[in-house]
Chain length 128, copies 2
DNA sequence: ATTATAATTTGCCATATGGCAAAAGTCAAT
DNA sequence: ATTGACTTTTGCCATATGGCAAATTATAAT
């Protein structure tokens, strides 16, 4: 299991909480049992494509997006030659992150960056 | 099992024969056992997303294409959902913000979103 | 036909998925 | 504290997936 996979549960939960929905409500809307959804969120089960597809709309994801997050689709273009390309491209913006941030108005988006650099400079100060 | 599902096997076999490849060769190239591939072709098993992804390239399919054939993706989704997405497409990601965030590793990017939603939920609590 | 070789199918099994119902937490209002 | 209404987690089980090795079935080549 790689990072993105173990993160999937967190992402799904965060999105559900944000929406906001309870597990039971999501279960009702998606047709997936709440117990299974719970296990998926805490990483005890990995959702199949069928399940992913069912929960996409209620959570406001596009199918592609969820599939990419789940590692079922490779990001963006099809046809990456090597599967052992182990290292994640760190110069890319996580699609989930992009989508979440895009929902915020521009001033909030920039404030987020401001806070981030503030935190980074604080961290730099501490580590010195 | 419905029609389209039982068709998938025929399609895959057709494509393999056309390529041309034997089951064993496809197995070698895809990393999926030939016995499993055989069962998939004759409809005794249904391929998971992981398996589909593995065999896509050797067979000359794009991932999207195979996923759509398998019924995992609804036909013609390219990131933009056709339905009630009013809440989401209204906004765009500031290019500057995108550039700054893209320089951070994925876990930081997601942490930023986590902090943002935390702040938002706190704010919601206050305003109530 | 007979053997050799490659290709496909089958038997068996280990593991993963996912649902249902019961148990365990949460939380507000007495 | 206790009740009652939700929400989440757990126990258990039925089913599906997928690999390995043996068995079967083509396909040639003497």
């Amino acid at each position: 299991m790689n990072d993105s996979v173990s993160d999937l549960g967190k992402i799904l939960k965060q999105q559900r909480i944000n929406t906001p929905l309870t597990l039971q409500e999501l279960a009702a809307e998606s047709g997936v049992s709440s117990s299974h959804l719970g296990r998926i969120e805490r990483g005890e089960r990995f959702p199949s494509a069928r399940i992913l597809r069912k929960i996409a709309k209620p959570l406001g994801f596009s199918e592609d997006e969820l599939f990419t997050l789940a590692g079922f689709l490779s990001p963006q273009t099809s046809g990456v030659a090597e599967e052992g390309v182990s290292r994640y491209n760190s110069r890319q913006l996580d699609p989930y992150v992009a989508r979440m941030l895009a929902e915020e108005p521009p001033e909030i988006q920039r404030a987020v960056i401001g806070i981030l650099s503030l935190l980074k400079s604080i961290a730099r100060g501490i580590s010195k």
